[in-house]
């Protein structure tokens, strides 16, 4: 299985490709729309601000190619900003996201009982698996991942797409699955065995989405 990792100049492509190799999967960087032709698994990383993320993808035909692949049912995994770009928009910027998810990304803020709340949300946090699927196996517990962000998608109770949530001030979506579209707010490529397992499950199991 070949994984295409989108390289728009904003994101940790090198680390993702390294981890893919550790899993035993071949990965290539896709720098323009043409590079994505025939893709069967796409990972969309992203580090930085929302508007710059949009601008980066708007060059070289990446935006149109990704949108086409998403609508055609190709499994796509967004990571951190990559996941946020799948939403309609973000408090962080003025540009529109892909809109594959009918939600907005909001600036995180303390909850009524938060003490020691800091932004960015930076570090390892436990993730509550809400339902098993492609990314998490049934009974998955003790999952923790590395987060580095100041914006997030709020977790609405009972949202079936939110497969995992975490809390920082308020509960937010840590991972979602909506058919062939998936996203994680944390960095699996920087989360040791937990991230490796999740990426493995995406690569091997996404056809069952």
């Amino acid at each position: 299985m070949l994984v295409h990792v989108v390289d728009s100049g904003m994101g940790n492509v090198g680390s993702l490709v390294s981890m893919m190799h550790r899993i035993g999967v071949e990965a290539v960087a896709a720098r323009n729309g043409g590079d994505l032709a025939g893709a069967r698994r796409v990972v969309l990383p992203g580090v930085g601000s929302f508007d710059r993320g949009v601008a980066g993808l708007r060059t070289g035909g990446l935006w149109e190619a990704l949108d086409g692949l998403a609508r055609a049912g190709c499994p796509v995994l967004g990571i951190c900003l990559g996941m946020q770009l799948m939403a309609q928009g973000s408090d962080e910027g003025v540009q529109a996201g892909f809109g594959w998810l009918p939600v907005r990304v909001e600036r995180m803020r303390p909850g009524p009982e938060s003490s020691g709340f800091r932004l960015p949300h930076m570090g390892w946090a436990p993730v509550r698996v809400e339902r098993a699927g492609v990314l998490f196996e049934p009974g998955a517990a003790g999952q923790r991942f590395y987060f580095a962000h100041s914006f997030a998608i709020a977790a609405d109770d009972g949202d079936p797409a939110a497969v995992a949530t975490a809390e920082h001030g308020r509960r937010f979506v840590a991972a979602f699955e909506r058919g062939n579209l998936m996203g994680v707010q944390f960095h699996p490529e920087k989360s040791h065995r937990f991230g490796r397992r999740l990426l493995e499950r995406f690569v091997l199991g996404a056809d069952r989405a």
């Binding site: 100049g9 940790n12 492509v13 090198g14 680390s15 390294s18 981890m19 550790r22 580090v47 930085g48 601000s49 710059r52 900003l81 938060s114 020691g116 709340f117 800091r118 932004l119 960015p120 949300h121 930076m122 570090g123 390892w124 946090a125 923790r144 590395y146 987060f147 580095a148 962000h149 100041s150 920082h168 960095h187 490529e189 920087k190 989360s191 040791h192 065995r193 991230g195 490796r196």
Partner: protein, 249 residues
């Protein structure tokens, strides 16, 4: 809130891992790629890599790319970053964050520019601080030669306001002493800003790490604690295991 992070801080000089103490030394420790692999295998929370030979030369991107491919935890890099383009190259090479030194206080616009380009979560400023214990603190740069500020709290606030997403408070006078963090300094800075603060300088035991967290540090970093062992300071790369448990903040 996220678990307090424990962060080995490694120093590079001419592609070799070295240990310095209060800007002097350096003592050769070993191969950096090997060290990165070891800390990644030990599932370290995070790691900070500082290249003290990079001033004027800029980041050694070839080495950095190879180092980043060994790490499955976030790694921050600092050393010789003076332009946003250099910062972006370092992040593209596989590093999570870039570290700028105390000179950032005299270039607040650069901090803001970086934050706008790569996001605050990827911009760390490391404040080198000396003094304390009733004598007053001073923030220094250029290996301690130049004072840039006499109030670490004000300095921290300015940097956080400018867009730094994380601050390392490095108590230089305690480097390698293993006598514990400067808890007064950690407390002062942690309570003054809303961004995560990393304590560095003086940690000699797991107890010291816990004390740093109790004083308000979001993360506790150390160099010699994780790279040297015993009175004779033999080179030994270690990382606390399950005994530290899950710390609550």
């Amino acid at each position: 809130m996220p678990r307090a992070r424990i962060i080995p801080c490694l120093t590079l000089l001419e592609r070799r891992l070295v240990k310095t103490r209060r800007f002097t030394g350096p003592r050769y420790l070993g191969d950096p790629i090997n060290a990165m692999r070891i800390f990644s295998d030990k599932e370290a929370d995070e790691l900070v890599l500082l290249d003290i030979g990079a001033q004027g030369r800029g980041p050694d991107l070839d080495l950095l790319g190879r180092l980043a491919s060994e790490a499955f935890m976030p790694v921050s890099y600092g050393g010789g970053i003076t332009t946003a383009a250099q910062a972006e190259s370092v992040l593209q090479a596989g590093f999570e964050k870039v570290v700028i030194g105390s000179s950032a206080l005299q270039r607040l616009g650069f901090v803001s520019e970086l934050a706008a380009r790569v996001g605050s979560q990827s911009v760390v400023v490391s404040l080198d601080v000396r003094g304390g214990g009733g004598a007053g603190f001073r923030v220094v740069r250029s290996r301690g030669a130049i004072e840039v500020a006499d109030d670490p709290v004000l300095a921290a606030r300015r940097l956080a306001d400018a867009g730094a997403g994380e601050l390392i408070v490095h108590q230089v006078d305690r480097d390698g002493t293993r006598c514990g963090y400067d808890l007064e300094l950690v407390r002062m800075v942690s309570s003054a800003v809303g961004v995560p603060v990393v304590a560095l300088g003086g940690a000699g035991s797991v107890g010291d790490l816990r004390a740093g967290v109790a004083a308000g540090a979001a993360a506790v970093a150390a160099g010699s604690l994780f790279s040297l062992f015993g009175r004779r300071e033999a080179v030994l790369l270690t990382y606390p295991g399950d005994e530290v448990g899950r710390w609550e903040r």
